[in-house]
Structure formats: structure tokens, C-alpha cells
């Protein structure tokens, strides 16, 4: 694609520039406390969550308004997911799961606004989210089950000879969890946004501009789907890991 762009037309593509983190005020190096464009969009995500779940439900209407019913839908969706996947005893972890889901889904959708910044396209963000889940779930597993949590790696339904081999595989797959968990989310979001940018870059050539616009529209629709599905996948995997921690036996 890059070669095609360079050949003849002289098109300029900066598909990754949209992900660049810059200080919001002034220039200079980014310290840990610097307010950046990413900080701004995280704050906007917090604001959106506040508007949706707190301001939207402030009337406590018996017959909900549109915004209130969206909030209730999100609540019911995640609550049922936790209840179904983790079980009754997992309901007390519902606020944590809800926090993750709301942050990811709102960040994903805010990122779809043109010229916005997509927080969840950054591997640092998703890695921290995934590590929080991983570390939290591992600690929880040992606290709840003691040493019995290691039974998670001992597949008692397999033939005895295979069990050590399976234990190694299970152990590796357990430690790969945070990697796949985080890269799946960041990768999907980043790729979708980059592809939109590439399509948009082609719009500069008159002959293929209609096709490029069509591509942008199609990719945008696709990314709307991905924005929700990836938040859903991240959340349901969190629930699955939580279930493993609470009920480690296979």
C-alpha cells in the first residue's frame, strides 16, 4: 500500500500520526504528570460515563428516558454477564468489571469521533488494564483457594500420563493471557483507525476518491462494530479469568 502511494501520485500517508501523544499545553518533554491529548480524552471518557450513568439516571424515572435506558441496559448487560459467567458469588466483583467495560467501550466510541484521540489504541493502556486483571485474578485465586488454586493447571479429567505436559501448556497459556488480552484490544482499535486514515489518504486522487470515501464509510461502520465487540470481548474474558480464580477446578 505504501509503495503504491509513493509510486507516481506522491500521496502522503500518516496513518499512525493520529496516535501520537503530545502535551496539551505548550511544548516540551512528557513527564509522568504532563497533561496530554490522551489525558484530555480520558477525562472526556470520565465525563461521558458521568453524563450517561449519573446525570442520565438522575430522575430515577420508573419509565426511563432514552439516556437512562441506555445506562440501565449497560448495567443489566454487564451484571448478567458477571452473573452468568462467574456465578452468584462473582456479583461482588461486578463494580470492577463494570469500571473496565465502561472505560473501554466509552474510550472506543469517543475515538471514533473525527480528530479525536483513541486512548484504547495504546498498548500501554491496554497492557495496564490486562495486567490489573491478571494480577488481581491471580491474587484473588490464591486468597480464595490457597494452594488449591494450582489445580487450575492440573487437568484432572485428562489421562494421568498427559497431566504434566498439560500442566506446562496450561501454565504457559496462563501467562500469555495478559499479552493476548491487551494486544487484542489495542491491535483491533489501532488497525481500524489506521485503515480509515489510509483510505482517507486516497481521497486526494480524484479518480479513486469515490471508492475511497465508500471505503472510509464502510470501515467506519466496521469500526463501530469493533469498538463494541472488543470492549465486550475484553470484559467477558475478564469474567472468565475471574471464574477460574473463584472455581479453579476443571
Amino acid at each position: 500500500m505504501a509503495a503504491e502511494a509513493e509510486g507516481g501520485t506522491g500521496l502522503v500517508f500518516h496513518p499512525m500520526k493520529q496516535f501520537k501523544i503530545e502535551p496539551l499545553f505548550g511544548e516540551g518533554p512528557i513527564h509522568w504528570y504532563t497533561i496530554t491529548n490522551q489525558t484530555l480524552w480520558m477525562a472526556l471518557a470520565v465525563l461521558t460515563i458521568f453524563l450517561l450513568l449519573v446525570v442520565g439516571t438522575s430522575r430515577r424515572a420508573l419509565v426511563p428516558s432514552r439516556i437512562q435506558s441506555v445506562g440501565e441496559l449497560a448495567y443489566g448487560f454487564i451484571y448478567r454477564m458477571v452473573e452468568d459467567v462467574v456465578g452468584k458469588d462473582g456479583v461482588k466483583y461486578f463494580p470492577y468489571v463494570m469500571t473496565l467495560f465502561m472505560f473501554i467501550v466509552v474510550s472506543n466510541f469517543l475515538g471514533l469521533i473525527p480528530f479525536s484521540f483513541t486512548t484504547t489504541s495504546h498498548i500501554a493502556i491496554t497492557a495496564v488494564l490486562a495486567l490489573l486483571v491478571f494480577v488481581g485474578v491471580t491474587i484473588l485465586g490464591f486468597v480464595k483457594n490457597g494452594i488449591g488454586f494450582l489445580k487450575l493447571f492440573w487437568v484432572s479429567s485428562a489421562p494421568a500420563a498427559l497431566r504434566p505436559v498439560l500442566a506446562i501448556i496450561e501454565l504457559i497459556s496462563y501467562f500469555v493471557r495478559p499479552v493476548s488480552h491487551s494486544i487484542r484490544l489495542a491491535g483491533n482499535i489501532m488497525a481500524g483507525h489506521a485503515v480509515i486514515k489510509v483510505f482517507a489518504g486516497f481521497a486526494a486522487v480524484l479518480a479513486i476518491a469515490p471508492l475511497s470515501l465508500l471505503g472510509v464509510v464502510a470501515m467506519f461502520g466496521m469500526d463501530m462494530l469493533v469498538a463494541f465487540v472488543q470492549a465486550y470481548v475484553f470484559t467477558i474474558l475478564t469474567c472468565v479469568y475471574l471464574k477460574d480464580a473463584l472455581h479453579p477446578s476443571h
Partner: protein
């Protein structure tokens, strides 16, 4: 691939496009992680202190209202069914009562009719017996009168013919004729 395209772009505008992915610029990581943790804590506090208790109470309240309404509807339906049953029963009772009254009345009328007929028949019989007696009397008296008239006429005829009217023989002759 993305890195390639980014590098290719950098050829055109080196000062705009940075090398590599911004995602892998480790110098921004502490900043990202710090603000992410702040964000997560704020979101968690918003959810647990405000949003979730409120939404769960709204949902519970709605569930309660729906349950109550359903129970009330069930109750009302039962009442309506009871009322319908009572109405049907009253209707059936009224119909049976009407039937009974009609039958009774019919029997009464029949009895009255029979009595009146009987009385009328008796009266008619009495009257006709009386009438028969009167007719017999009238016939009797008429017979006497006829005898007298016939005797008178016979005597007058005999006298007119120049005969001698013997009252006894004429009466005997007339009686003989009337019998014959």
C-alpha cells in the same frame, strides 16, 4: 507494514512524521499509566458511589412495581370472574323462577277454566231440562186446544150440512180421528 508506510511517509515530511509507532514510544508510558490509573479510580468511584446504587435501586423499584401491578391485575381478573359467575347464577335463577311462575299461573288458569266450564255445563243442563218441560206442557195444552177447535169446526160443518149436531158423537169422532 505500518512501520514501513510510516517511514515512507517520513521521506516526504520528516518533521511531521515520527519514526515508528507512537504506541512504542516508551518515554510516554509513565504518563499514560499514571493518568490511566487516575481515570480508573475516578470511574470506579463514580460507579460505586453514584451510578450503580442508583441504577440498581431504580431497577429494583421497577421490578417491584411490575410485580405489584401483575398481582393487582390478577386480583382484578379474579374479581371480574367472580362477578361474572354471580351474574350468570342470578340469570339462571331468574329464568327458573320465571319458568315456575309461568307453570303455576298456567295451572291456575286451567283450574279456573275447568271450574267455570263445569258450572256452565250444569246450568245449561238445568236450563235445557226446564225448557223441555215447558215444551211438553205447551204441546199438551196445544193438543187440548186442537181437540176443542176440531170439535167446534166439526159441529159447525155438520150444522151447515143440515145435520144434527150431537156433541158427544162429534167429540168421539174427532178423538178417533186425532188418534188415527
Amino acid at each position: 507494514m505500518t512501520t514501513q508506510s510510516s517511514e515512507a511517509a517520513a521521506g516526504h515530511a520528516a518533521e511531521v512524521a515520527e519514526k515508528g509507532m507512537p504506541q512504542l514510544d516508551f518515554s510516554t508510558f509513565p504518563n499514560q499509566i499514571f493518568w490511566l490509573l487516575v481515570t480508573l479510580v475516578v470511574v470506579y468511584l463514580i460507579l460505586t458511589k453514584l451510578a450503580l446504587p442508583r441504577i440498581s435501586s431504580v431497577l429494583a423499584e421497577r421490578q417491584g412495581t411490575i410485580t405489584n401491578d401483575l398481582a393487582a391485575a390478577e386480583e382484578l381478573k379474579r374479581k371480574a370472574e367472580d362477578a361474572e359467575g354471580a351474574y350468570n347464577k342470578a340469570l339462571a335463577d331468574a329464568r327458573a323462577e320465571a319458568q315456575r311462575i309461568a307453570t303455576e299461573t298456567r295451572a291456575e288458569i286451567q283450574a279456573d277454566l275447568d271450574r267455570a266450564m263445569e258450572k256452565a255445563n250444569a246450568e245449561i243442563a238445568a236450563k235445557s231440562a226446564e225448557a223441555a218441560k215447558a215444551i211438553a206442557e205447551i204441546r199438551e195444552s196445544a193438543m187440548e186446544t186442537v181437540k176443542d177447535v176440531a170439535a167446534d169446526v166439526a159441529r159447525d160443518v155438520v150444522v151447515a150440512l143440515g145435520g144434527k149436531a150431537d156433541k158427544r158423537s162429534i167429540t168421539a169422532a174427532v178423538n178417533a180421528r186425532l188418534k188415527g
